[in-house]
Amino acid sequence: MEATLASIVAAATPLVYAAVGETIGERAGVINLSLEGTIMLSAMTGFAAGFVTGSAIVGYAAAMGVGMLLAAIVAFASIQMRLNQIAVGFVLTLLAVQLSTFLGDSYVGEAGPQVPSLSIPLLERIPFLGAVLFQQNLSVYGSYVAVVAAASFIYRSRRGLILRGIGERPEAAFARGIPVNRLRYLYTILGGALAGMAGAAFSLAYKLGWRDGLTTNFGWIALAIVIFGGWNPIRAAFGAYLFGALQVAAGKLQPVLTGISQILPLMPFVLMIFALVLVNLRPLRDLWDSHPALRAVFASEPPSGLGTAFHPE
């Protein structure tokens, strides 16, 4: 039981990074739809840099650099050029996926460095939870930090309040002297760095190595999880763990349900998207809205300035 739950936590870790990063960027009002491509290209780059230098740290740095660069392109296009964020993100996704295949060709099948595993003293001895949460690798621990830090930043700090302000009411924030667009750059690029870490968390920690399409569809799922999580990092993390659970379940069922074993790996993606569809259906939305307790768990209202450009003049 503990081993299964621990493998769910490990499987969900890259998605936690990606979903938390995207949540921060979208809270500021910018959709980085390039997530699918960003994760793929940073997984490849992170592995290549790690392989060449023999250092996982260099690999992570390279992966984060790629994530930040792609996020900067999205931010520049939407803030400076006032282009459609969906269009730019979609093009970047296709471009980055192809680039990862093209540039990653010679690294396929190589063995590179990996993030060390480390049990946390004392905490690992907590009954049950210790074995699930605290006998993992550093990438997993980093994801806990990312979730807690993002949640306390967004909901408990003054800067977090400003972050929510520029996503909800950019005009009002601007009128109060807040440099809306500069902060949108900052948070979009920060989100990109976390998406880059998601890529590295695949190729240097969870799936080890590079092959074509290593992270296929995980970026789309991360985007869905952000909505499922109602733009709240903690709820998003739960969405990621739910997806991890589906993945582990599909893996365990594969030897049992031989008739459909080939489509089982696809099922978590289908179920996750339909979970998203379900929580958005009108009758259910009305139900969440009428019960405050359910509302906190299920309701998801996007930041009202999401996807729009803000022009100070």
């Binding site: 296009a77 400076q80 282009l83 296709l94 192809q98 093209f102 569809v277 939305r285």
Partner: protein
């Protein structure tokens, strides 16, 4: 996601100035994309000029290759024409990949069970593709209009379901005689194959249908009340509703039209190219067609030439793999770079113009 974010849509016809303006605004980005591609080739140690020449001869170097390029153009043009309709309605039909698959699955179903000669079978398989694709698209449409589900995620989910369905059919009920394999179903009966020219892959019927689709969509958007109202819905759904346009019906019609054309593309892939159902029957043409339409600035008149260029790059790139052992993803890299640079350059031009317009003297010779 909000409607304010929809791309600036311009649907003016191809006036002379428009054509030169568009071509001019394309030349610089093409040159830039070329330079970046050359740098990439140098980076991985491939002969840059030789690679590009191989790309060209790989696309048009022989009648056989030219036929392959034209046959890659067919699904791009069909899907692209369909996407012009959904984009006009302000919709991001990411579900188009699934619609292609649904069309291919429907066509395969008919090809497997319907007896008779080509004269009966071929119209039926193609019609099944059209219906299958349209119904699959309507699912995404109903999820959007009734379920309040964003079409990007609804479509994505349906993409996953469609590919799962195809794989299930291929290894399950429609498995090959004796052995189930993900390499595809048995070949269809000969009567279901679309006929080709000589030994090439060229299917004249498929090309004719694609040309017809592009022309029809062009006319639909240019000269009909439907096109005009669809534009109104796409630009501002609330004011369209206030003007008395039944917006839900228009949105669903846009989905169904796009799905029908995508489904036709899928049916052609199955009956005219693969002659069987394979898991990757869409070949990524749906997503690639989204790039084509973005590059075309959402105008039907530009779909045909841009789709042809993209088809050539895709087919030519396979030669790089065969001859130079370069990954054929280079084709996709070139396509993606080109669209990214064109979009960014378009944004830059818009900003530059609007800045000039604010200065009264310089604003006169705008354009």
């Amino acid at each position: 996601m909000s409607r304010e974010g929809t791309i600036r849509q311009r649907f003016s016809g191809p006036s002379l100035r428009g054509i030169f303006g568009r071509a001019g605004s394309l030349l610089l980005p093409i040159a830039l994309a070329l330079v970046v591609t050359l740098l990439l080739l140098l980076l991985i140690g491939a002969p840059p000029i030789g690679s590009l020449r191989l790309l060209w001869t790989g696309a048009v170097g022989s009648p056989g290759k030219l036929a392959d390029t034209v046959m890659a153009w067919v699904p791009l043009a069909l899907a692209g024409a369909g996407l012009v309709v959904t984009f006009t309605a302000g919709l991001w039909n990411i579900g188009i990949e699934g619609q292609i698959v649904a069309g291919a699955v429907a066509a395969t179903g008919v090809a497997r069970v319907v007896p008779g000669s080509s004269a009966v079978l071929i119209p039926l398989t193609l019609a099944a593709g059209v219906v299958g694709g349209a119904l699959w698209a309507l699912l995404a449409g109903v999820l959007k209009t009734r379920g309040n589900v964003n079409e990007i995620f609804g479509g994505l989910g349906l993409d996953f379901v469609a590919s799962g369905m195809a794989i299930y059919l291929i290894i399950g009920p429609w498995k090959r005689q004796g052995i189930a394999s993900t390499s595809g179903t048995d070949l269809f009966r000969r009567e279901a194959w679309l006929s080709t020219v000589g030994t090439t892959s060229l299917v004249p019927l498929a090309v004719a249908l694609a040309v017809l689709a592009v022309v029809l969509v062009y006319l639909l958007m240019r000269g009909t009340m439907f096109g005009l109202r669809l534009k109104a819905v796409g630009k501002n759904v609330t004011s369209a509703r206030l003007l008395g346009i039944p917006d839900e019906r228009y949105l669903l019609a846009a989905f169904a039209t796009c799905g029908a054309l995508a489904g036709l593309a899928g049916a052609i892939q199955a009956t005219g190219v693969q002659h069987k159902l394979i898991p990757a029957i869409s070949g990524g043409f749906g997503f690639l067609a989204i790039l084509v339409v973005l590059l075309a600035g959402f105008r039907a008149a530009w779909i045909a030439p841009i789709a042809l260029f993209f088809a050539g790059v895709s087919i030519g790139a396979t030669q790089l793999q065969l001859r130079l052992n370069l990954n054929s993803a280079l084709g996709g890299v070139i396509q993606g770079l080109l669209v990214l640079i064109v979009i960014l350059a378009g944004g830059w031009q818009q900003r530059w113009r609007s800045r000039r317009r604010r200065e009264p003297e310089a604003g006169a010779e705008d354009g």
